[in-house]
Structure formats: C-alpha cells, structure tokens
C-alpha cells in the first residue's frame, strides 16, 4: 500500500526551512527518502531504520516514528539546488520498496 506524502507541493525562498511528511497504514521496517529533478533519475538521500539507525545525507535530516508509522524529512536553510520532487519509500514485511506520490519542492532566489 502506497505511503501518503504531504504537502503535495511547497514553494519557499532560499534560506527557509521545509518539512515533508510521509505516513503509512502498515508496520514499517525502514523508510527511504529520494530526490528527483525533472527528467533525471531519483537520487538517494537517506534511510531510516526501525530501531533508530540512519544512513544518509549530511545536510538533510529526518525522523522516523515507528509506532505511528510516520517519517518526516527536514530541509533547513534551503538552497536553490534543493528544488525537485521528494519521494519517500517504505519497506514493510514484504520487503518491497513502495514509493509515495511525491512532494514537489521549489526554492526561489
């Protein structure tokens, strides 16, 4: 079942912060975050595992609430290069990565 992302789109100015949320109706083993720029392949940002372990980006942080089956991606002091569509992907018992429908982030100068 596809995770739900919010918001669907966000526009902000350079230097502002943004939060993208991802929630699932099923128990999760891990949450993955990817960013995709127009016409390009998705690029890995971060993995959050059940139990609190994380792998990922230096300048981007995220949280994973296992009990609520929710994850949030925090983009602080946004740069123009942060623009793109952010996807969360969730892995449950079936061990299949299921992506959400994406959040389109636009950073303006």
């Amino acid at each position: 079942q596809q995770p739900v992302q919010s918001p669907q789109a966000v526009i902000l100015r350079e230097g502002e912060d943004a939060v993208i949320n991802c929630s699932s109706s099923k128990a999760l083993y891990s949450v993955h975050w990817y960013r995709q720029k127009h016409g390009e392949a998705p690029v890995f940002l971060m993995i959050l595992l059940k139990g609190g372990e994380q792998k990922g980006h230096e300048k981007i942080s995220a949280s994973f609430n296992e009990k609520k089956q929710q994850s949030s991606l925090y983009l602080t002091a946004s740069q123009l290069s942060y623009s793109g569509t952010y996807f969360c992907g969730t892995i449950g018992a079936a061990r299949q990565l299921t992506f959400g429908s994406g959040t389109q982030l636009t950073v303006l100068p």
Partner: protein, 115 residues
C-alpha cells in the same frame, strides 16, 4: 563513480509493437530492480532480481511484460505488444543484496512513448 546504465534513453513506438529495454547495474550489485514511473507519480516496482533469480514480480503484467537477467549481471525488460497505457519512464536500479536498508542506485531511465 559507478553508475547504472540504461538504453535506449528514449523510445517511441506504435501500439502492438514490441519494445525492449536494457540495464547494466553497478558492478557487484546482486539486486536489480525495474520500476515504472508515470508522470507525476512515484516509481512503481515491476520486478526484482537477486542475482539471476526473480524475487518479486507480483506487479509485473505478465501477459505482456517479461524480464530476464540470465547471467545475473545485466537485464532486459520487454513489452509485447505495447499499449498506449504503457507510456512512462522505465527505471532500473541496483543495490547490494536487499535487506531493506541498502540504498538503491537508479539509472537515467528509458522514456517510452506509445503512439
């Protein structure tokens, strides 16, 4: 830096024709995935290989789609016959053996347009 290679990058075909896409994963990556991404949506898994074996093809429309990874390295995804609704980006990704915590590296994709 190692990358996932895909070809062709773009393919235009007429409905009822056959099309094939090729993927070469990062060397050493035992797990290979084929995804379909419709414009405005997230990637949807079609098939997952572990070496040469299919691990998951539950979302693959088997009446017209087939995938193989004969030697456990590169892979081919075929559609026969193509339908208008197959127009999408087809992404290949690879990773170290899948445990749910390895990042997937995506190739540039093949943009398929069915007329």
């Amino acid at each position: 830096e190692a990358e996932v290679a895909q070809s062709p990058r773009y393919k235009i075909t007429e409905k009822s024709q056959a099309v094939a896409f090729w993927c070469d994963p990062i060397s050493g990556h035992a797990t290979l995935y084929w995804y379909r991404q419709i414009l405005g949506q997230g990637p949807e898994l079609l098939v997952q290989f572990q070496d040469e074996s299919v691990v998951d093809d539950s979302q693959l429309p088997k009446d017209r789609f087939s995938a193989e990874r004969l030697k456990g390295v590169d892979s081919t995804l075929k559609i026969q016959p193509a339908e208008l609704g197959d127009s999408a980006m087809y992404l290949c990704a690879s990773s170290l053996p899948d445990r749910g915590y390895n990042e997937q590296f995506f190739g540039p994709g093949t943009r398929l347009t069915v007329l």
